[in-house]
Amino acid sequence: MRGNLGKVFELANIQVFRHAATPKSYTDWLGRKLFLALLTVQGLGAFALITLGVIIKKFNFARSVMQPRIRHEINRSGVSLLPMFFFIALALGFLVVGQTVSALAKYGATDYLGSTMVIVIVRELGPLLTAMLVLARVGTANVIELGTARALGEVEALEALGIDPVHYLIVPRVIGMALGIFSLTIYLIIGALASGYLFAFLQDVALTPGDYFKQITEALNWLDFALLALKTMAFGFFIAIVTCYHGLAQPLRLEDVSRVAVRAVTQGVIVCVLIDAVFIVLYLVT
């Protein structure tokens, strides 16, 4: 196998360690796990850089093929998930925001409402919940589709036609997921904040809609918007990288696909939490 994907497949040598005999001591077992984790990080990092390179280098290449594929992925990771996110936004508003608003009103602490909502919904819960849901809905589908395509030899067929599999298969998924998670997070935040107030209003909380939204807008600053965009794009980029990496850089067997999907989701969750941790540091220092 040649080209960009060849570099990814070299990284799949990680399988040798996975299938080796079980170590006899705990320290050996721990050492192997650590080594595997480092190899995975190396593989994912290299795959992310290769994909980024292809996005930049082939930004305008084969537009008649790539644009419909990118539109399809935006639809899959964004538009088609809107009904589900409408429901989740209502649930989040009723269960979390509404209760928080009424609790703060009960203790006369409505002055803290804006900053509480911004920290809980805008900075943390909105982006992370969106990322988790898209990972579950679309990320798993990525692993299964790509794993199956690889097992059926479609990846080799692409290379034989001079089509870069990273460009054709990965780039649309990365762009679609980054834009999808960004857009869905915005809708989720707006929906949760609005339905949250609705719930508080039904509980006769003494807070006018004007005061409620004024407090929230005052608690927001330009950095929240910039970091929210960066964070959601980072979630989308890395979820797509993790799921596509596991879909492609695996042995050519159909029976491996489901096991790999579980591993990809686990690693996707870990990556999202790590990205979130990086952004918490950014929020704290700025």
């Binding site: 040649r2 008649s64 093929v65 479609e154 034989a160 001079g162 050519l252």
Partner: protein, 262 residues
């Protein structure tokens, strides 16, 4: 086509060791020394798991030889990267079973290389695809996905996909595998038309290499034969030399399929 182009070397392997797609450390064929001239029709025969597919993929530049060298159109395949995309597109490859993209229709499968590699309008793409589908009698199946297609037509659609970019070298991995009698005959005649120069290719002769696990179907005076047996690649020559060969491997590949059962 000038005499010069006809006699130019298309593939040249020197002491090449062929490894497998699944495990690059495993060598399946040793020391391949092979030259394919422009316009030749080669048949590479071997039993199952003898390394035919890997040899063809190496010859197409899709796999690297683990040792030695492989040059395609004078270009070393280890430097056969995207910079040499134009050289790479001179090679067409048909996989065993077709390996069509399952989510695309036949017409979309055939159009994909054209849409991706050439900056053509949708009308030009459509015109080219329709013309090729017509030549290959695939028009009634244009909107079928590969899942809904019989193996005979799947193989033919894969050949159409490989021909859409008008290659100068065509490699076919087990093209007769699983085909019915009518489709086998059609394919053998069509490949012969391509070898001498088909209208689709502007009358230019096509260099063809096909792999097989039986030799009888490929009997033809204008074809050259090679055999893979126990990691050894041997050039046998033309059909007369195949028919008179004392090699056990060649005799096994010449045997009637029913002879083994009897």
């Amino acid at each position: 086509m000038s005499e010069n182009i006809l006699n130019s070397t298309v593939i040249e392997m020197r002491d090449a060791a062929i490894s497998t797609l699944r495990d690059s450390s495993l060598t399946v064929v040793e020391n391949v020394n092979w030259s394919v001239a422009s316009g030749e029709f080669w048949v590479v025969a071997g039993q199952q798991q003898s390394g035919k597919s890997d040899l063809l993929m190496t010859a197409a530049g899709l796999l690297l030889p683990s040792r030695g060298s492989c040059r395609v159109f004078g270009c070393e395949t280890d430097s056969f990267s995207e910079a040499q995309l134009a050289e790479r597109l001179r090679v067409g490859f048909v996989f065993a079973g077709g390996k069509l993209f399952s989510q695309l229709t036949v017409a979309e499968n055939v159009a994909l290389p054209l849409r991706y590699q050439k900056n053509l309008s949708e009308a030009e793409v459509s015109e080219n695809v329709s013309a090729l589908l017509e030549i290959m009698e695939l028009t009634p199946f244009a909107n079928s996905t590969s899942v809904n297609l019989a193996a005979n037509w799947r193989q033919r659609a894969a050949l159409a996909r490989a021909l859409i970019l008008k290659p100068e070298l065509l490699l076919l991995d087990q093209p007769l595998g699983g085909l019915g009698v009518r489709h086998r005959q059609w394919l053998l005649q069509f490949l012969e038309q391509l070898r001498v120069g088909h209208a689709w290719l502007g009358g230019q002769p096509l260099t063809i290499i096909a792999s097989t696990d039986e030799l009888r179907s490929w009997r033809h005076t204008q074809r050259r034969f090679a055999v893979l047996d126990e990691k050894v690649f041997s050039v046998i020559g033309v059909w007369n030399e195949v028919a008179s060969s004392a090699s056990t491997a060649v005799k096994e590949l010449l045997a009637e399929p029913t002879a083994a059962i009897m």
